[in-house]
Amino acid sequence: MASLPELQARFSAAVRGDPDALACEVSSGGIDAAGRVSIYRSNSLAMFEGALERTYPVLRRRVGDDYFHQLARGYRARHPSRSGDLHWIGEHFPGYVANTETGTGYEWLAELAALEWACETALVARQEPAVGPDSLAGLPPDQLGATGLRLQPSLRCIATSFPVLDVWRANQPGADGAPIDLARGAQCVAVSCSEAGLELRELSPAVLEFIRLLQDEATLGEAVDRSRIPIETLPDALGLLFEAGLVTAVRPAESETHQ
């Protein structure tokens, strides 16, 4: 009689693809053990693929069910589930798709996967109370450049080589799924989640970089300098952050210390 650890080892081997691994441990009752084990094997695969489908619905729609399932099975072989929580199963999928599609002419699928993963993680992020532009009003003008902004935890900045935001929008429920001309080129996208739900905004490269630097705790002055955002667009960029409720705190300038 197999011990509990031995039995689970044999069961695991059977679910992974060796139908005879468990045969001697099963009361058949007229149905062979391989047939019974196949139910668990298909259930486990369905759970994995189902979670991946829910995370990457646009990618699935673009490549079709057959190729998506082929991708999912290859991905599972490389990145089996490591958690009882299905939510994180798709974490490494964009990287896997990037490796799989390199040199195929379908490299944009990896960028689409990255955008969908950003959406997935934005949807479950903590939401903090937003502050308005009046939170900057009391600051001395000479300290504005040394001030930082704390942004919503859900905010994700994505820069792509292909127009995957257009692809994403064309493949939302109710949209016609019309093909997008990939020659349209790069897009920069800010993904966030509010009370109203998921929000995706196309930004200029400089504004996206400006926001990304603020996320990395750069001061406003540093973010302006390093992003090379045109100074005339700065009011609009700040206005966007405040109006969208993406600013959660103003980080005052650190006082200088003298030794």
Binding site: L7, Q8, A9, I39, F48, S83, G84, D85, Q127
Partner: protein
Amino acid sequence: MVSSGKPKSSSPILADAGIGLRSAHHQALLREQPRVGWIEVHTENYFHDGGPHVRALERARETYPLSLHGVGLGLGSNDALDRTHLERVRRAVDRFAPALVSEHACWGSFEGEHFNDLLPLPYTDETVEHLSRRIAQVQDALGRQILVENLSCYLAFSSSRLTEWEFLAAVVERAGCGLLLDVNNAYVNACNVGLDPVAFINGLPRDAVQEIHLAGHTQRAIGEHVVLIDDHGSRVPEAVWNLYELAIGHFGPVPTLIEWDTNLPDLSVLLGEATRAQACLDVAHGLAA
């Protein structure tokens, strides 16, 4: 909006009918506020820090008593207990203050790979000891009793030396947990592995059963044989209703949940099934009065 923090207290779940709440029904439930005794959700779907699903559950629990039903701890796995997962369960319990917390008498991972399925255990003294020890660890971590659900099975192990009810009774005695009786699972097991469902119900420790699940199943052909698949994707079959009436005749009125996870219909269909369960409970309440 930011979470309003830990609810002050949990509303008790009475011996009424409830429904399993899935995200597709969040808005309909919050908008229509139907009369239903309580709701149950899968704990793992509310592990996150925020987002619309967490906010919807925070609103729903203001109206309905709540049960958290876990599917991912793998209580019977030989792998070490996943402390990260358990900590997330603990945070969800703290956040939502459910009246009931439950998991399954199953295992789910081996050498770190999770199969994300509820896998069956052999009914042996070794398993009783292992599962009981793990349940006790979870109860210690959560600071409360949990309920453990009987599993639907597609195979039986030749090494089993106990009946399923003897196994569950021994686990209850040793771990001090309660039981969640899934009547559909008992029916499925009767067809799939020859369980005597009446002996099963009569053999469970009467005071331990604190919740009942009802659900639908489907059929799958394997060669010349038919296996029932516990897919929670249809109405509760008549045979399961009959077994349910037998169960509450034996146990008395017990909080009863309509589970529906695949092929999700309109919320009204779940509520219709809950109304039927409530009618059975009302009869049992009358008999008990």
